[in-house]
């Protein structure tokens, strides 16, 4: 397209306008092109990864069983004030639900759900459902006669509370709290607390592991950074090989090393440090988890530390020394502050990875070395209390996202480096 220029060398106003529009259009086209390149992966991640997690979020507050399998009772209980025993209409609705539920064989799902909230509910519902065919109106007297627990107003309060299709009960339980029949929320006695204890243990063990990786990783990174590049690259293999080795391989190798008939104990017995019958218990407890996870996560600390330390000029330390600082002051005042970004990057990375661990604690942790991830897996596969697993998962996710927020503030997402 031709652009005419007048004698003074300026564009005419129309030309200027056209040029601007062209530029605008071309910029817009580039923007669209960039978006189109990113779009396939964004859509893919949204569908295969974000949607499942959103689904889990919904599942953690969803509570459809009672509402779905005892629909008439749920509807009838909406207007019940909870002051005295329900009237005949509600008992009749319950009887209808029990008859329908017994025929479709699905009353058990509601009964199981109720039992999570108050033990004994399952046998109450299932027992009544078995007897329901012989029960005649008026239902109130008949049902109470069949099982006197129906005269207990607290049981009705539990049913009413669960009759809504949404619930916060999983979160309440995941915080080691319980709801009394009157709807008051309070902590369970300390000796019955499971989840808070496990969250707490997960946090402090992750912190301990992070501290261990700093303690072991900092001197090694410093050593590597102070070597000539060629030598450092050779020694780097010792860091990178574990990094590239399968997690399961490393975990099983720690089992071979640490178990009571394992290599380390054999070595200690052979050296005469411990007697044969006093072999140390180094695995299937918290110690095993800490050792194996420190080993697995150490490269994640060394790699960012090393790359930061490479950028600190060694002449700074020498300058500090020649200005009269002793080695300790030179390190503490001059070197350490410049490596803080590396420490924080590595520490947050290790910490995030550690609190979500599942495989290693499950294999070498025994009872005392389990993490919150193990409990999520237990509720997924063992107890099949999926709502609880979802609630614990969401809580862990919130925790990780919070720490990740810190990470991106300190380090920036774009500075994540591999190898």
């Amino acid at each position: 397209m031709a652009i005419t220029v007048d004698a003074s060398g300026d564009l005419s106003p129309e030309e200027q306008k056209r040029l601007k529009a062209d530029l605008h259009r071309s910029l817009f086209r580039n923007k669209v092109r960039a978006c189109l390149l990113v779009a396939p992966l964004v859509v893919f991640i949204l569908v295969t990864f974000v949607a499942p997690i959103g689904n889990m979020l919904i599942r953690s507050v969803e509570d459809p069983q009672v509402n779905e399998y005892m629909p008439l009772t749920s509807a009838a209980l909406q207007d019940w004030d909870g002051q005295e025993l329900p009237d005949e209409a509600i008992f009749a609705a319950l009887a209808q639900d029990l008859i329908a539920g017994r025929e479709s064989k699905e009353i058990g799902k509601a009964a199981t759900r109720l039992n999570y909230e108050s033990s004994g509910m399952r046998s109450l519902i299932m027992g009544s459902a078995r007897k329901i065919s012989r029960i005649e109106p008026p239902y109130k007297e008949a049902l109470i006669e069949a099982d006197k627990d129906w005269a207990d107003i607290d049981n009705w309060k539990v049913i009413k509370r669960l009759s809504s299709p949404y619930t916060t009960s999983y979160y309440v339980a995941a915080l080691d709290m319980e709801t009394s029949p009157d709807g008051e929320v309070s902590f369970v006695p300390e000796n019955q607390q499971i989840y808070l204890k496990l969250f707490w243990r997960t946090l402090w063990m992750s912190m301990l592991i992070t501290a261990m990786t700093v303690l072991l990783g900092y001197p090694v990174s410093y050593f590597l950074a102070s070597l000539p590049v060629k030598k450092a690259n050779v020694l780097m293999i010792l860091v990178l090989l574990p990094f590239w080795t399968s997690l399961l391989v490393r975990t099983s190798s720690w089992i071979a090393m640490l178990q009571s008939q394992g290599i380390l104990n054999d070595l200690l017995v052979w050296l005469g440090i411990i007697a044969d019958e006093q072999r140390l218990q180094m695995i299937y407890n918290a110690l095993g988890t800490v050792i194996a996870m420190t080993h697995i996560l150490l490269p994640f600390m060394i790699l960012p530390l090393y790359s930061v330390m490479k950028t600190v000029p060694p002449s700074y330390l020498r300058a500090a020394r020649s200005l009269g600082a002793n080695p300790w002051t030179a390190f503490w005042q001059v070197y350490l502050p410049q490596t803080i970004p590396g420490i924080s990057a590595g520490a947050i990375l290790v910490f995030i990875l550690a609190i979500g661990y599942y495989i290693t604690p499950a294999l070498v942790g025994g009872q005392s070395g389990q993490f919150i991830g193990n409990l999520i897996a237990y509720h997924m596969q063992g107890s099949l209390n999926w709502g609880m697993a979802a609630a614990l998962g969401v809580m862990l996710l919130v925790l990780v996202m919070g720490i990740y927020g810190l990470y991106s503030r300190f380090v920036g997402v774009n500075n994540v480096k591999l190898g």
Partner: protein
């Protein structure tokens, strides 16, 4: 880094103590991996060195665990499954990840931070959470317990690595080269394959290797969403370690270590090539 000649005795002691400490950490890092290799040739079904092995008696060593590995249908099946899943998920992750990285490197892209955060989220979110979510969601879609489900899941987990490595390669990419090619009359497609692709290839391959490793090593999502039919090597190892631990596991582990040595070497070579092409001589 030698001891300077003016160092006092305290400083000398410190210097050697420091070196000993570093050596100990290096041993800590590598010993578990080195120990596995000889143990996998143990003739006895133990996880420990026998008297015969220590005296280097050839009878104490055998390849029976390797034979057991190679003749077991369950292990062979798991190799097949791992290869299928890893191949497809790596291919998908590399293609989608490279495209996205090309888009991310353009200055015109809006909400770049947000998109980058979303794309690398599979790397940040603990796997147990991803596994639980995928279990629910993929079951409701009817694709759990299928190759498709497992491949999609592993693709999602592998893409962040490709995005990160390719974006890193592109950060040193001279966009004038593309403009020059266009100026000389090359079509955008021709430019992409002749100019851009060869320059970012190292990033793509190392990202793909990371994705391959992720899929090959991934066990948590697999035990939640794969069925018996899709049993992969890590799943087989997981149940092997949990149920009855036999040295076959160590034989598999040794093979996997060899595999990771090859991977590590390849990534290293690629990284040096990439630095050389981009003119960063180290």
């Amino acid at each position: 880094m030698a001891v300077p000649s003016y160092a006092g005795p305290l400083e000398r002691t410190w210097y050697y103590a420091f070196r000993v400490f570093c050596a100990a950490v290096f041993i800590f890092l590598i010993a578990p991996i080195l120990v596995i290799v000889p143990l996998s040739f143990n003739a006895e079904p133990y996880f420990s060195f026998t008297q015969g092995m220590l005296t280097l008696d050839p009878d104490a060593y055998s390849t029976r665990w390797y034979e057991e590995f190679l003749t077991s249908d369950r292990w062979l099946e798991s190799i097949k499954n791992s290869v299928i899943v890893a191949f497809f998920s790596t291919f998908l992750a590399a293609s989608l990840g490279t495209l996205a990285a090309l888009g991310l490197s353009r200055s015109e892209l809006p909400y770049k931070g947000l998109i980058m955060g979303l794309l690398i989220s599979p790397m940040i979110v603990p796997l147990i959470i991803a596994a639980a979510g995928m279990f629910f969601f993929y079951s409701s879609l009817g694709i759990s317990q299928s190759y498709l489900g497992l491949i999609l899941a592993h693709t999602a987990l592998g893409t962040p690595f490709v995005v990160i490595t390719v974006t890193a390669t592109l950060s040193g990419f001279d966009h004038n080269l593309v403009k020059a090619a266009a100026n000389l009359g090359a079509t955008p497609t021709y430019t992409f394959f002749k100019i851009t692709m060869p320059l970012i290839m190292t990033g793509v391959i190392s990202g793909a290797l990371f994705a391959l490793m992720t899929s090959f090593d991934e066990v948590i999502v697999a035990i939640f969403i794969a069925g018996v039919e899709q049993r992969t090597i890590p799943m087989q190892m997981w149940s092997g370690i949990r149920e009855q631990i036999s040295p076959t596991i160590l034989a598999v582990a040794t093979i996997l270590i060899t595999f990771s040595v090859i991977m590590l070497a390849t990534v290293e070579i690629l990284r040096r090539r990439s630095d050389r092409i981009r003119g960063i001589i180290s």
